[in-house]
Symmetry: C2
Subunit: 529 residues, 2 copies
């Protein structure tokens, strides 16, 4: 290494060859895991020594929005001593990362208001609710000391319910039946020689051996028959003494299983972003923005400060904003990072030009909705042995989520719908009481009368109606043109957010975008003439 | 109900019709969940009013063993005021439910000793480590106020490693490849008409639609080809700006996937007893026996008291035992519940007859082993994005478990092997240092040099060498004869334990067995002339 520090060496490789080269090199040095090169994007946060080495100094930066991208930008720049100020229109940090607790007030754009009545210890993560292990959000939690616990994205005990089915079935039962019949069919076809063009004799043997276990099907003599079994579950559990248990029956026919469409739910949990295990901060998702805000310093964050005008100047950026009393203020900085949703930036006065304005108006805004149903009793645990997880339906509530915290406590909160697009719009136009009524009526089809009778309180969020957010996320018609334009600074104004990443609607997208902007901005400051 | 209380009515139905009839009736009354009748075994704990109503009184009961069955017996009988005493040979309660923490001493039958060096907050559940949601153990945790968290039995980020493979693969990658090829093959066979005898035209369409999503395979024009995709994972993650991510490649051939045998690991997680979600008590599995002991009253539990003789008499039971000083004591009670392992009861002097003695010697004892490897750094999280879960191998370590607690903490404990039978025996005969060396050498094939270099301390358990336990669990040649005999009292001596249930090696088996014995014993006391 001849005088290079490990960090210098790695960062030199990183600069010339990109993240792939960096991690290949780390692997060769024995620093990366042996099983697989690291898949993470390299990031070296700015640090004070970067200035002492170059003779340059930290700049003043104004950041628009205290969502995850804005907070991460201030946090990372702050490590090197940048003088950051965040302007945030809401009275809290986090943006869509929003945990609602008892006493919290929700006001929608039309003026309607709810006040959450949840008991202590009960909360709703109204926005992001789950973290995949590979996402940088996990690393931020470690760095910030945010405690994590499993988010229960999949549960064999939860249900699948389609309206064409006589009753909900548990995921475990659905899998047993689908995998059983798939194994029966493929074993027969293989054994009959239908796949001889693609399979060697040894392949065939191995495939049939695999299917025998995968589907728990009978042997060749039985025609590889699927006839159910303990994976379906039990109608009477195995117990003591003579109680061997009674396997759940009867087994539906192959045609019934195919007609139900249950199998089409399975691929959800194979997704790179949705596969278990997933995680959540203990006590609410807003532990992350709160921790970031604490590190940044609350005095740097101006809440209830709505940006009204952005002016890019030859020597800096001027941002005009209104405070909670409607008074107008001006802040000037060397650089600006606009970490607001694009559709809100598009409504904000600025001098960044028509091409930028057109680009900001390009993405399509999507809606999403959630209702939190607080129950007086954790009937899903006590009556149905469901400790977390998600029931998937073809009702317009889409999914029912059982809580990933507070197991065995007195009360608990079920997410009664989490839906998007047209389904979310259908609930958004209703008053809260009607949203609740509709969600409960539908949920009763799965859980019966207790779903209505034991309800204690509820809160619903329609993201398109949330002031200063006005949408759940955006989508791009293409990653060319507008997307590329906004991924570069407009003069002294940078843009950041999940909407400028390939992980839209994930906090990790916002964090990666912030890191990219921080790196570019810092590089500009370090290399400025 | 004409004067019947709900409880009276239900228990009358329960008596005549068994648990199935009971729950069918509850369903009809609207007391059971709508989606599915409850699968739980009915249990009404004895209560003081049972005596006031019958004019009979609680008896004195001596319980042999403070494992889960013995503790649950004393706890449930205690609810009605029975005067219980537990004799326990070890210096702790819980039996095989054993959580090892720093400072704990392990002595094996051959006299070799280990003292755990784990830091605060690091522990090993040496025996049972996971609870299925449907098991009665969950209900005991609720009743006892034992906090629960997810036990990470499956994780898409953990590995499968077979010695015939060039490198470990993550579970998510293995599933993508196996399900991809299975879908390709079955789609082709179906489309070619190979299954026309069993599938209608509509079935075929639905099956192909399902397989398209299940395997993420191409359309008919492409030959339903599986060509990999994002479910495999990424070699460079999706990120900000232009970083769309690089999907992990190359995709192995169908023959390679079949030859690897990875697919044969999948059915583990379909098991009724192993499917996620699973749970563990916060802070260690021994929270359950500790809570039970607290409810029973520690003064009723005589630790380091080894039973040496059981004498069934016309008017009671006499039990002789040795205390920690080798002094012999005698305790007399009305009834006895022997909740010790059968192979240890078989070595204990008694007057229960030769048939009982033969029955106690009938089951076969199985061995199991575990090693807890404490690391100075949570490299599995930091380097490999693995937050919990299990790596499955065909090495003699069988499985590697990443911890389900302490995410993001400084240190952590990996279970370096959990194996049984011949594999466990192979480790049991080694000294602890050699067990550690062997486990680490093998684990390095998956995790590289850090698996050795960052190790802080370790503890290993060979269950066949644990004094007063001498095995992990037993198996029965049949559920006739000896099993049936011991499921009835021998005079005034009842037997209880997981070994007398259909859930051997599960705490729930011990608990259900205890409930059965409690019910029978209480019934006898209530109906005694």
């Amino acid at each position: 290494m001849l005088g290079y520090s490990r960090r210098d060496f790695l960062s030199a490789v990183g600069v010339s060859g990109g993240a792939g080269a960096l991690f290949a090199t780390m692997g060769a040095l024995g620093l990366a895991p042996s099983a697989e090169a690291s898949v993470k994007t390299a990031f070296d946060p700015p640090q004070p020594s970067d200035f002492s080495l170059t003779g340059r100094s930290a700049k003043k930066v104004v950041i628009l929005g205290a969502g995850m991208a804005g907070l991460a930008t201030a946090y990372e720049l702050g490590k090197a001593g940048y003088d950051c100020t965040i302007l945030e229109a809401l009275d809290r940090v986090g943006g869509r990362n929003w945990t609602i607790r008892g006493g919290d007030r929700l006001t929608e754009l039309n003026g309607s208001t709810q006040v959450a009545q949840f008991r202590d210890g009960v909360y709703l993560n109204a926005g992001p609710a789950r973290l995949a292990q590979w996402m940088v959000t996990m690393d931020y939690c470690r760095e910030l000391g945010v405690d994590l616990e499993v988010f229960t994205n999949s549960n064999a005990q939860a249900y699948i319910y389609h309206q064409n089915m006589p009753a909900p079935v548990r995921w475990r039962t659905a899998k047993a039946d689908v995998y059983g019949y798939v194994s029966e069919l493929l074993s027969r076809a293989t054994d009959a020689g239908a796949l001889d063009a693609e399979l060697t004799t040894q392949d065939k043997e191995r495939l049939i051996t695999f299917l025998s276990g995968f589907g728990a099907v009978g042997n060749k003599a039985s025609g590889f028959k699927y006839t159910g079994g303990s994976r379906r579950g039990y109608s009477v559990n195995p117990g003591a003494g003579e109680q061997a248990g009674t396997v759940l029956g009867p087994v539906p026919s192959l045609s019934e299983v195919l007609a139900s469409g249950i199998g089409q739910r399975f691929s959800f949990e194979f997704g790179y972003d949705q596969a278990m295990l997933m995680f959540q901060p203990v006590g609410g998702m807003d532990a992350i923005p709160r921790a970031l805000a604490g590190k940044i310093g609350r005095q740097r964050i101006r809440l209830r400060s709505t940006v009204t005008k952005i002016t890019d100047l030859p020597d800096g950026v001027e941002v005009e904003y209104q405070d909670r009393h409607g008074r107008t203020h001006m802040i000037k900085a060397d650089l600006c990072v606009a970490a607001m949703p694009p559709h809100l930036l598009a409504k904000t006065q600025h001098n960044l030009g028509t091409e930028i304005q057109a680009a900001l108006s390009t993405p399509t805004v999507a809606n999403a909705g959630k209702i939190g149903l607080e129950y007086r009793r954790r009937w899903w645990e006590i009556d149905e042995d469901i400790y977390g997880g998600i029931t998937s339906t073809d009702l317009d509530l889409a999914t029912i989520w059982y809580p990933s915290y507070g197991y065995g406590a007195a009360r608990g909160l079920v997410v009664g719908y989490y839906n998007f697009g047209a389904q979310a719009d259908a609930y958004a136009v209703l008053k809260h009481a009607d949203r609740e009524r509709r969600a409960v009526e539908q949920g009763m089809r799965i859980h019966g009368a207790k779903y209505r009778d034991e309800l204690a309180s509820s809160v619903s969020v329609a993201w398109n109606l949330q002031p200063h957010i006005e949408g759940a996320w955006v989508s791009w018609p293409s990653r060319q043109g507008a997307y590329q334009l906004l991924n570069k600074p407009a003069g002294r104004v940078y843009f950041a957010g999940d909407w400028l990443s390939h992980m839209i609607a994930w906090q990790a997208g916002a964090l990666e975008s912030a890191r990219k902007v921080v790196t570019e901005l810092h590089q500009r400051v370090l290399s400025a003439a």
